[in-house]
Symmetry: C2
Subunit: 250 residues, 2 copies
């Protein structure tokens, strides 16, 4: 099916689910969100009020599509970048090469909007195979405000650590994609190893941050689009949450 057909099918399913009440089909998404509440749902996602979720509400596909492809998402990210830099400029760096900033990759440094555009902006359940095929293309563009921040942090003297939920087998394509998008000279790229596969992102990322702290790094800042990039233990002095209404990672 092409993406329009897939969307049509999902909307049809949602309609079936609506007319048949709870009786026959009940999609796991929040189908009951009325269209005029989609912006409020998005805010609830960003403030972690929704809890775990695996599909955007059926009524909010157009709203999320408009948000992700319009000016507002770009501006929201720019403002996060602006406050990140403002904080970074006030950090007193020790200058011993141990001043660190941690970045997540997907929807933080690289944008997967071209992929999500083709799969209904998160209205479909996450398909690992199809997403991994997209990752293999190494074609994700940079998020412009993050690329600026990345470079400015390096100029200020921060060591940049990339901590991603992607797996070791994706190391080469991930490096290729980062270079293609304009990122250079990161200190280390940390991916999930064989023993990290079943861990939650919060646990896996906390462990990896703790390893950095044990190596003597001071994690001043951390940027990510998921709260699971930022919460847990060995957290940064300041955490910066980029918006992402397309998917949730625990």
């Amino acid at each position: 099916m092409d993406s329009v057909a897939q969307l049509t099918f999902i909307i049809f399913l949602s309609w079936i689910s609506h007319v048949s009440s709870e009786a026959i089909i009940r999609l796991p998404s929040e189908n009951e969100i009325p269209g005029e509440y989609c912006d409020s749902w998005r805010l609830a996602v960003e403030t972690n009020n929704v809890g775990a979720w695996n599909q955007i509400p059926a009524n909010c596909v157009d709203s999320v599509a408009e948000y992700m492809t319009g000016e507002r998402y770009k501006r929201d990210c720019e403002v996060v970048g602006k406050f990140s830099l403002k904080f970074a400029k006030r950090v007193a760096l020790a200058g011993d090469g141990r001043d660190a900033w941690v970045f997540d990759i997907d929807e933080t440094l690289l944008s997967n909007v071209p992929y999500y555009k083709a799969v209904g902006f998160g209205s479909e359940i996450f398909n690992e195979t199809s997403f991994n095929n997209w990752v293999k293309l190494a074609d994700a563009p940079a998020m412009p405000s993050s690329l600026s921040l990345f470079k400015e942090l390096q100029e200020l003297g921060f060591k940049i650590f990339l901590l991603t939920g992607r797996s070791e087998f994706q190391r080469n394509v991930t490096e290729a994609n980062l270079l293609f998008a304009g990122y250079r000279n990161w200190e280390r790229l940390i991916l999930r190893g064989p023993f990290d596969q079943r861990k939650s992102a919060t646990d896996y990322k906390s462990e990896k941050r703790e390893e950095l702290v044990n190596e003597g790094y001071r994690i001043h800042g951390n940027s990510g689009d998921q709260w699971s990039d930022l919460w847990g233990y060995s957290v940064a002095s300041r955490s910066f949450k980029l918006p992402n209404p397309m998917y949730f990672i625990p």
Copy 2:
């Protein structure tokens, strides 16, 4: 000065600060936020990206006023209430009278919008004397979605604890205001005592939650408009962040 004159003065100061660059006057607010970025600034506040702040950006007074008095704020709060209740309904209550839910008061159960309307919606630095005079009136209306949630939680069997940054000397007026607004039968109202005055809200509220935990209460949910209502230690199983772009409490 009346509030219009104060606003005019602040806008004038901001203009002075703009034309004179950093040289003469530098207001502590984020004057450099362009008007079309005010929604993004608001999101940055809600996701705690802004850090500590004490005035809304001068360019965003109209935007915050429109948000707080229009449909959007109401809807945002309704959606938070909806997800809070959804979670609450899934909690397996022990039925021993120790299943707890913690609410903050200002901008959580009670709305101070009538007060903030008169002082530029957070564009002025917080004035404790004038705010305390407002509190004394015991005239703050209920936030409708919170009043519904409050009642529904009680029907489900939760014990309700009110944990506020207000001080003991405001106990009577606070109780009177809560009753006037329609709240009934809370388990306990916890206010800042003499030894809590200099503590951050995060520390004070964490200590008070810890005391509840030590008494055997299980804090399933916590609702507040500030991250300092929700973070720290002895946190609830799920925390719900209500929007508040008018002020920040550390």
